[in-house]
Amino acid sequence: MADSQGPLWEVFVQKKAGQPFVHCGNLHAFDKEMALQNSRDLYTRRGEGMALWVVLSSNIVSSSPEDIGSFFEPSNDKIFRHPTFYQIPDGVGHM
């Protein structure tokens, strides 16, 4: 039986211009306009945001926990990507 509440949408809120959109939760809605209006009513009743994104949950592609090792491993052994890897002479001052 189809879910009588419509599909699931993920909701992202931007607190104010210049800040990133942050995932805040999800809700059911039948279409995108309803998803946007319901998100406003559900997630921004107290000035939590000035902009909203909604996206169908089924459109989200995500990594899987059991891939953590192989998927993110390439970043672990490259300490030269961090500024602290490099030695700068004391006399140079702040860099």
Binding site: S4, G25, H28, D31, D41, R45, V61, P65, E66
Partner: protein, 335 residues
């Protein structure tokens, strides 16, 4: 690699059976789960988890969601009769919040593999439980004050603990809920303050509400630890971090000075400060009554279920129309 990832991601929430089988071959998933709990790490929807942990959470979170939704009914009873426009606006906002809390919790439970329909069906057929407190009637305006102050106060005590529960979506829902609940408790205490410092009749009304809500509120924390069937696992899995009795004691300690400030009397005649434990000794609620109400025989159980079923049924044409509208929109976009 990327194709496999996309396939697995079809449902962003649930691990499929094949993945579990594959996992079992490589690492001991159960040990991994236990070690995460031991480190206070959070379990997320796609992580492997024992079936009983999943079941326990579905039961607890859906009951919590049902309690929020059914909790709208006793308070909604007073929206049309609120004593001022201010009081009416506040109560509307509060009842709307409760509806929102229900929605946060339902989707948190859905991330564990149950559906909204299944949960609503369980509620509407009387199979699912919700907090016994909402089966008591709201007879006077003072009851709205008592609910906000005592019932929401007790709920907050439980929910503050649950902000650190081991399941990520539940914890995140609790953080949002706790932010909103503090308004609820304060508005309730404001109502009690106005009545307690008003006319003698108003004060009497406040005392009567306290008398009727005190013990049902103490029941909200659940049966005593020694008789609580689900507590052991809940603590072991860090779903709960404190026991029913610990939370109940803290609630009593916190609430008695608030009763005294109002000039009201706690209905528990044997309540006494215990210096050794730095807390109050208090009488247990009538646990036979608790069981009776949980099993459907409270003053308002039938009324609550009838209201919920009616409201769901009344909304049926709206859902059907919205669904059909969405289908047509999609068709015209595709064409």
């Amino acid at each position: 690699m990327s194709i496999i990832l996309v396939k697995r991601a079809l449902n962003p929430y649930i691990c499929c059976a094949g993945m579990k089988a594959r996992l079992n071959m490589s690492v001991n998933v159960e040990e991994l789960f236990e070690s995460k709990l031991a480190k206070n790490d959070i379990i997320e929807p796609k992580d492997w988890m024992p079936e009983n942990y999943r079941k326990h959470l579905i039961r607890q979170i859906s009951q919590h969601a049902h309690s929020e939704i059914v909790g709208m009914l006793p308070e909604g009873n007073w929206i049309t009769r609120a004593p001022s426009l201010r009081a009416k606006l506040v109560l509307l906002a509060k009842v709307q919040d409760e509806g929102g809390h229900g929605l946060y919790l339902y989707t948190a439970a859905e991330s564990l593999g149950t559906s909204r329909d299944e949960m609503l069906d369980a509620l509407h057929t009387g199979k699912a439980k919700y907090s016994s407190i909402f089966n008591y009637p709201t007879l006077t305006w003072a009851d709205i004050g008592a609910i906000g102050w005592l019932v929401d106060g007790a709920a907050i005590m439980n929910q503050v603990m649950l902000q650190r529960t081991s399941y990520g979506p539940y914890a995140r829902a609790m953080v949002r809920i706790c932010k909103e609940e503090s308004f609820h408790q304060r508005q309730g205490y404001e109502v009690m303050t106005k009545l307690s410092f008003g006319t003698p009749e108003q004060k009497e009304m406040a005392q009567d509400a306290l008398n009727r809500w005190w013990y049902p509120t103490l029941m909200m924390f659940g049966p005593p630890d020694a008789e609580s069937p689900n507590s052991d696992n809940a603590i072991k899995w860090r779903i709960k971090r404190e026991t029913n009795d610990q939370l109940r004691q803290r609630f009593v300690n916190q609430t008695i000075p608030q009763i005294e400030y109002l000039g009201l009397t706690c209905p528990d005649k044997s309540l006494k400060w215990n210096e050794a434990k730095k807390g109050y000794d208090f009488s247990e609620p009538d646990w036979a009554e608790f069981k009776n109400v949980i099993h459907g025989n409270g003053p308002c159980n039938k009324e609550r279920l009838v209201s919920r079923n009616k409201s769901h049924k009344d909304g049926e044409w709206v859902r059907a129309a919205a669904s059909e509208f969405a289908r047509k929109q999609n068709e015209s976009t595709a064409a």
